[in-house]
């Protein structure tokens, strides 16, 4: 037996077969039982196969930019119009639309939507995430409600924070500079066998703009502190949990928010109308890998926004006249003409004529005139409250199923509950419930053709239901070079403000009493129509995405033609607010971005957008820069030295040119196991225009700030 040299032939054949076929049974196959990690459900499309245009801002770019705010980073995204209402209110719009609001972008932090339910805007400065915690920002340029839900009308900004597992160790950073910049950041990450956590604390402070168009000091500084805790836990080989808690508190200065209509001589009642802003957020994601071909996750989040804005304002007593209020409710245009008449009474009484109107209008006007004659033009001061609390609960189930190597289905459903509570804006609380169902199919027909499409069905309690489709065809010349044609539709539901506002100021602690009352309602008020329809966007896109690996070049070109119909263009205001779906807008143009790794030490990045547009409302014609773009050069000089030079330009934003050159110089020093990085950022404006609005001015065209960061 010992010397038997021949095995039966079938056994030998089996052994040979085993060698070629089943690696796991092979004597020389690896014994390790490894999990399938990069499964079809985890892998994403290569850039050339993406059904749309995406700009990725990676951590190297984010760091090199030296930016202190997310909005500043968005200048690197072709077609993104970044402006400021004041120093602590940045606005980011893709391609344009209304200059004072930015309500057509979806913004997500790790999958959690952060645009405010009440006013549908994004308070960039108040988002409870530090730029130091951001790993990557993916900007989907174009409508994508199929994947991201309504409000993803013009684009989606997907902010992804560094995973706790990638955040081990301690980081301490301080940034100090001109314009009152005092920022700090501290984080600590730790891990255990099956999980990791990161705790970060941070703060930011600056003076905002220096002076307004009248050379007066501009009250728009900010101060904030943030807390962020992120934990990931692998429960077993198939289940994992990721959860986050975030909070932010701070104050955003605002100039005194009232100008007297009846008597310019009435003095301001307060220094300003500052906002105390607190944001709280918590989210939990449970991921389950059912098999390498099938995974799903359930994510729930709860958020609360608190904006406290109370200031003391002064106005003539007549502004609180119940009769004037009735007249406004009856016909606000009559009140405007009546106001003109009152002014004329002062300047040219001989020719002043009470405006004609109905008997009731005339009678009310007469009563108001009698009040004025009785001394109601005297100044009274009271507390104005413009505070708001907003709450959102969001639940989403997403399922990824790989039907074959070439066919993948993404589907899911979501439920969202939004609530806004404000005496001034909504005369109490208002809530909304939104259900959505979505599906997206990716089908690789062969090595060249890729068909991707899907649809979303959404039901919005306040504005009805909608079905939005999306279809994309990619032709892959090679895996690295792809042409794409995309058609998509998207909707934006009117926000609570536009549709349901019930704006009235209940002014309290009036001194002296107004018509004998300590609290009274200001005469002007506005109501949303309640019957607004959704805005509809139709977008057509042709694009090319290519990677020239030999040269280290990645390039993307996009041609687009987008139309928005049933557009609500009216800005939020409390006098004569008559929003409608009467407007429309069209954008067409070309965008390109190029990332060129010239050498291991040099990286060049360019972006450019040409946008042509037509808008039925003059309000939508101001924010679109016809030419805008950026150019960056990142270099590693060795010995720990690195530099980054960026140029940003837009030919006009709300009528003002914007051009800036940023230089960041950094030196990294190793101290034992720790690393210290010292960096300086110099920003030099190349134009001498205000930024977006005439009151946004700096004393100097340059800004200098320094940072020191210790990592260990």
């Amino acid at each position: 037996m010992i010397f038997s040299t021949r095995a039966p032939l079938p056994l030998a054949l089996l052994a040979l077969l085993a060698g070629g076929e089943a690696l796991g049974d092979d004597l020389f196959g690896n014994d390790q039982a490894l999990p399938e990690v990069l499964t079809a459900t985890r892998l994403k499309q290569a850039p050339a196969a993406v059904p749309g245009s995406i700009t990725v801002l990676d951590s190297a770019l984010i760091e090199a930019s030296g930016a202190r705010d997310i909005a500043e980073l968005l200048r690197l995204v072709p077609g993104m119009m970044v402006g400021y209402r004041n120093g602590n209110q940045a606005t980011a719009n893709y391609h344009g639309t209304n200059v004072s609001e930015a309500r057509r972008l979806q913004v997500l932090i790790d999958g959690r939507s952060v645009y405010r339910p009440g006013l549908a805007t994004v308070d960039w400065s108040d988002i409870p995430v530090a730029i130091e915690d951001i790993e990557r920002i993916e900007v989907f340029r174009g409508p994508n409600t199929v994947s991201y839900g309504a409000n993803a009308l013009m684009g989606v900004i997907n902010i992804l924070t560094r995973t706790p597992a990638d955040s081990r160790g301690t980081r301490l950073k301080t940034t100090q500079g001109q314009r009152g910049i005092h920022d700090w950041y501290a984080s600590h990450g730790t891990g255990w066998a099956e999980g990791a956590l990161r705790l970060s604390l941070s703060g930011q402070q600056d003076d905002g703009f220096d002076h307004d168009q009248f050379a007066r000091d501009y009250r728009d500084s900010r101060r904030l502190n943030r807390f962020n805790l992120a934990v990931s836990q692998q429960l077993d080989s198939r289940h994992s949990l990721d959860w986050q808690l975030a909070a932010k508190e701070g104050s955003n200065q605002r100039p005194y928010g009232y100008a007297s209509l009846f008597d310019e001589a009435i003095a301001d009642g307060d220094d300003g109308s500052d906002v105390s802003a607190r944001d709280y957020a918590g989210s939990l994601r449970w991921s389950l890998d059912l098999s390498p071909a099938h995974s799903l996750y359930l994510q729930g989040s709860a958020q609360h926004w608190e904006r406290k804005q109370v200031w003391r304002a002064c106005e003539a007593e007549v502004a609180f006249s119940p009769e004037l209020g009735q007249l406004w409710d009856l016909n606000p245009f009559y009140v405007v003409r009546f106001g003109d008449y009152l002014n004329q009474l002062k300047s040219d009484p001989a020719n002043a004529v009470l405006p004609p109107g109905s008997a009731q209008e005339q009678a009310l006007a007469g009563a108001v005139l009698a009040q004025l004659a009785g001394g109601a033009s005297r100044a009274v001061c009271g507390d104005v409250n413009q505070s708001m609390r907003e709450t959102r609960y969001d639940l989403e189930l997403q399922d990824t199923l790989s039907l074959s190597d070439d066919l993948r289905l993404l589907s899911g459903l979501g439920y969202r509950y939004d609530r806004a509570d404000s005496e001034t804006y909504f005369n109490g609380a208002l809530s909304n419930q939104i259900w959505r169902l979505f599906g997206h199919l990716e089908w690789q027909l062969d090595e060249h053709w890729l068909l991707q499409g899907g649809a979303m069905l959404e039901n919005d309690q306040l504005s009805g239901s909608s079905l939005t489709p999306r279809l994309a065809v990619n032709y892959l010349i090679t895996p690295r070079h792809g042409l794409r044609a995309v058609y998509s539709e998207a909707v934006r539901s009117p926000d609570m403000y536009e549709n349901n506002v019930d704006w009235r100021y209940r002014v309290r602690n009036l001194q002296p009493l107004a018509f004998g009352q300590g609290s009274a309602t200001y005469f002007a008020r506005s109501r949303g129509p309640g019957n607004l329809d959704q805005e509809i966007m139709r977008s057509r896109e042709l694009g090319y995405n290519g990677a020239f690996a030999d040269a280290g070049i990645g390039v993307d070109i996009k041609l687009f033609y987008d139309e928005i119909h049933s557009m609500i263009s009216e800005p939020l205001r409390n006098d004569r607010f008559f929003p409608s779906n009467a407007n429309s807008m069209r954008f067409s143009g070309v965008e390109t971005q190029l990332d060129w790794q010239l050498s291991p030490a040099d990286r060049l990045r360019l972006s450019y957008a040409y946008v042509d547009f037509a808008a039925s409302s003059h309000l939508d014609r101001r924010l679109t820069a016809r030419h805008s773009g950026s150019a960056g050069w990142l270099r590693d000089w060795g010995q720990g030295w690195s530099s980054a030079l960026f140029y940003y330009g837009a030919d006009q934003l709300n009528g003002y040119r914007f051009e800036r050159l940023d230089l960041r110089l950094a030196k990294r020093i190793a101290i034992g196991n720790a690393a210290l990085e010292l960096a300086g950022v110099l920003q030099q404006r190349l134009d001498d225009q205000p930024l977006t609005w005439p009151e946004n001015n700096y004393d100097e065209r340059h800004l200098l700030y320094f940072s020191a960061e210790l990592e260990f």
């Binding site: 030998a12 070629g20 690696l23 004597l27 020389f28 990690v37 499309q45 597992a165 990638d166 030999d550």
Partner: protein
């Protein structure tokens, strides 16, 4: 002792009995006895009908010193290597299924006479050529190592130089700390896995693969099992390759055997889904293996 003597005698009888043939006695030894090993033994026997191939579990073998010098000993696995090293003298021996890292732990840099270590891991030069075929533009090859595998860098650097590649090494002493991995991915074009179970194991696989994918960097190697987990590709040698490689060595007089070698025959396994996600053109495995083999010195 009597048992040893009988076995020795039987062996002698057998040798005498086969004198007319230009044949060799090949003993396959392994600590474990399994159908897979038996099948391998049978396949080797079939491949070398002129030789007498037999499998014996280690426990049934005499001391290496007592095995005739003209026997060829083929040992499988680290335990068999330890057993062989237990004796100063022994027949010419080929050791399979042993990794460089293990041999280093056991032997340091020394190489005992009459011992040929056939490395279980893919040849570094082959992996580097594979990397160059798949990612021709990649120049900086990132390699994670720890105290046990740092010595592998020398061989990698020697293999990389003629290909115009640069090895970027990064120590990774604590596999729960991701920072070294991230630092390495930032300054290299791809990650090359080395066969060090401290670094590449079922516990670290998920993190390594997800991290490198998130940075859009491909992992090459460390072996075929990792390709199914999500590594882009790896060369590997299966049983058929090992049989063919052994066949070549056994045709040579043992005096010509090198002190260590990689299998001459190999295959390539690629992961098409990963290649697609990383926008890498992946031809079929057989063509890829041919392209990689073109660079081999005969």
């Amino acid at each position: 002792m009597p048992g040893h003597w009988i076995r020795h005698w039987l062996l002698l009888c057998c040798l005498l009995g086969s004198l007319p043939l230009p044949a060799a006695d090949i003993i396959l030894g392994s600590a474990e006895d399994s159908p897979a090993i038996r099948a391998f033994s049978a396949a080797l026997a079939q491949r070398r009908p002129q030789d007498r191939v037999q499998f014996q579990p280690l426990g049934q073998l005499p001391s290496p010193a007592d095995i005739p010098a003209d026997t060829r000993l083929i040992l499988l696995g680290p335990q068999a290597l330890d057993w062989r090293l237990g004796a100063a003298q022994g027949p010419p021996t080929l050791v399979l299924r042993v990794s460089q890292v293990h041999a280093r732990k056991r032997l340091g840099a020394s190489r005992p006479a009459d011992l040929t270590l056939l490395w279980s891991e893919p040849a570094p030069a082959r992996q580097l050529r594979l990397a160059r075929v798949l990612l021709p533009q990649a120049r900086r090859i990132g390699v994670l190592y720890d105290g046990h595998s740092e010595f592998l860098l020398d061989e990698l650097r020697q293999a990389a130089a003629p290909l115009g590649l640069e090895i970027v090494g990064q120590a990774w002493p604590d596999s729960r700390d991701n920072r070294p991995v991230l630092a390495l991915l930032r300054r290299s074009d791809l990650l090359l896995g080395v066969d060090d179970a401290d670094l590449y194991n079922p516990r670290t696989a998920k993190n390594l693969l997800l991290t490198s994918y998130a940075q859009q960097r491909a992992l090459i190697g460390p072996g075929a099992a990792f390709v199914r987990a999500g590594s882009l590709a790896s060369s590997y040698s299966d049983q058929a390759d090992w049989l063919a490689s052994l066949d070549q060595l056994l045709d040579q007089p043992p005096a010509h055997w090198p002190s260590s070698a990689y299998p001459t025959h190999f295959k390539v396994l690629g992961n098409r889904q990963v290649a697609r996600a990383l926008a890498i053109e992946l031809v079929d495995d057989a063509s890829l293996a041919r392209q990689v083999a073109e660079g081999e010195t005969p």
